[in-house]
Amino acid sequence: MSNSETMVDTAPAPATPESEVKVAAGAHLTLVERLIMPTILIVVLFGLPWFHPGYRLLSLATSTGVSAIALYGLAILVGQAGIMSVGHAALMGVGAYTGAILSRDLGMNLWTALPFAAIFSALAAGLVGLPSLRVGGHHFVIITFAFCGLLAIVLTNGGAFTGAASGLDIGAIAPLFGVSFGKLQNVYLLVAFFVLASIALTWLVMVSRYGRTLRSIRENEKLASALGIDVRFHKIVAFMLSGAFAGVAGILQVYFLQHISPELFGAFPSVYIALMVMLGGPRMLYGPLAGALIVTFLPEVLNLDPIDARIAYGIGLIAVILLLPGGVMAGLASLYRTLRSKVARA
């Protein structure tokens, strides 16, 4: 028996001093603290139109909301299951084109086409997820990128069916229960409703048995399967769930813009989606929303021209990843905990 190996095997590991043992994040929050964020969210989200924000701001808020829905889908995949994908714009594209083509060829409206957009995107996501069962983290990220590039090419070369490079047009959102969506305000409120639903659904995933299962896969695949978890099955399900979010975001996007073209769903938008999630904090409930808000509204607030805004965004992102690897919201949460324990001690 080789001596060096024995030494490695039996050498006591460095013990963690008792004082450095960390405690779970949300462990001791009071009910009031738990309700602060949802209350602010609902008030701001649905109160915005009553502040007469103007067309430009409302339109920005609507498109931010649309992105946020897709971001929540990706956050479940990255934050909970621990699988990175840079192909998410392609999944949005599947939803968007499903909506546009069903409207053109079958005369379906947003409401009837919505389930199909979600289902087709989920199926596409399951397909993109299949290679993750065979190849590990790094290789897989590149595969998702390649899938995304492939889809953009297919859409561009799809001829009349996909409208080729110039894309497809679509009519307005059909009225529902007597509510017309001719006014931007109502489109905004509709998107706000879906954002809230996405956050609620993500919360349900996070606190449920299913969320724990996904986190176990993220943390330790080997141990998860040794405890009876079907890792491969759950990875694909996580992908499909994530894809359904992207499909809903996609069809809302096409009805909001009333026009789509392939470049909306290519490699670059995909990269942006991944970056927004990482910026906000993929494991935090409000991380994706924060990421979307920062990227869309910070340039407006700072009054930067689009090019400078992109540069500032890139630099800001790099700084966040280096300084707060868990994203902005994780940084804020830990700041809050520190302050709270100082106040409690004082």
């Binding site: 590149i142 595969i143 297919v154 992102l317």
Partner: protein, 289 residues
């Protein structure tokens, strides 16, 4: 047949640029696990450097040398300043490289707008060999690449440093236990890979006009080449680069140019699924996320 041969020669010059990018990626990714998606932007910066030098009255050779040195320096600064800090969390390194794409691209657009840039052909003229017309500049690009590939290959397979490098690619921990200064090798490889990207950019702008957006198409080919050839495997990258380059050139020459990019995507997905270690074998890469 003549047309076929002509297309073949033309494709070789495209393949050359892809090979230069692919070798940089295969070494950097294979050794450090850094997925530097901004590697394509490094090439773009190389091309833009050459364009700046040439359009300010410098010669192409000066432009080429400037591109290699400047991008090498850029690689050094970014490795020490950013990527080094993420070596234990490779996924963060990847995210940072995505941020870098945005920064580098828009930096160039901000100062030199987003239109395509070109330089006058450094070498004009056409050789005719047995009815096949060969554009001289393209032949020179292939030649330069061949020399660089040969130097890289022998440097890695014959020299003491190359041996230590391959040992580090195969198993960083053991290599560093045996006294290989792995961290310095990582910096060295990053700089070398960056210089190859700078060279690729200079050669590319000698062949075609380039835009600030060229990076994302190129980097995907580069990763395709690195993964198809097997990580850390220079010979594999050359073979894979030739295959992709020829596929590109021939599909463009035989009437399906709009699907050109799709082939490399599809081939890459297929190979990664069927043979995760690449066609010619390489390391499986450093540990996953």
């Amino acid at each position: 047949m003549e047309i076929f041969l002509q297309q073949l020669v033309n494709s070789l010059s495209v393949a050359s640029v892809i090979i230069l990018i692919g070798i940089g990626i295969t070494l950097i990714f294979g050794l450090t696990g850094i997925i530097n998606f901004a590697h394509g932007e490094f090439l773009m910066i190389g091309g833009m450097t050459t364009w700046l030098v040439v359009s300010n009255g410098g010669g192409f050779i000066i432009g080429l040398v400037a591109a290699v040195l400047f991008v090498g320096l850029l690689g050094f600064v970014l490795e020490r300043g950013l990527f080094r800090l993420t070596l234990d969390r490779p996924m963060n390194g990847f995210i940072i490289s995505l941020g870098l794409i945005v920064v580098l691209q828009h930096f160039v657009i901000r100062f030199w707008n987003s239109y395509q840039k070109s330089i006058p052909e450094p070498l004009s003229g056409v050789w005719e060999i047995g009815g096949v017309q060969i554009i001289v500049m393209r032949a020179v690009v292939v030649l330069i690449t061949a020399v660089v590939v040969a130097i890289t290959f022998f440097g890695i397979s014959r020299s003491r440093y190359g041996l230590a490098l391959r040992a580090s690619v195969a198993d960083q921990e053991t290599a560093s236990l045996m006294g290989v200064p792995v961290r310095r090798y990582i910096t060295g490889v990053f700089i070398y890979g960056s210089m190859l990207a700078g060279l690729g950019g200079a050669l590319m702008i000698a062949l075609f006009p380039i835009t600030p957006f060229i990076g994302s198409t190129i980097v995907v080919r580069g990763f395709a080449v690195a993964l198809i050839g097997g990580l850390g495997n220079v010979a594999g990258a050359v073979v894979a680069g030739l295959v992709l380059g020829l596929m590109d050139g021939l599909s463009a020459g035989y009437g399906l140019p709009e699907w050109t990019e799709a082939y490399s995507f599809a081939l890459m997905i297929l190979i990664l699924l069927l043979r995760p270690n690449g066609l010619l074998g390489g390391t499986a890469g450093p540990r996953a996320v």
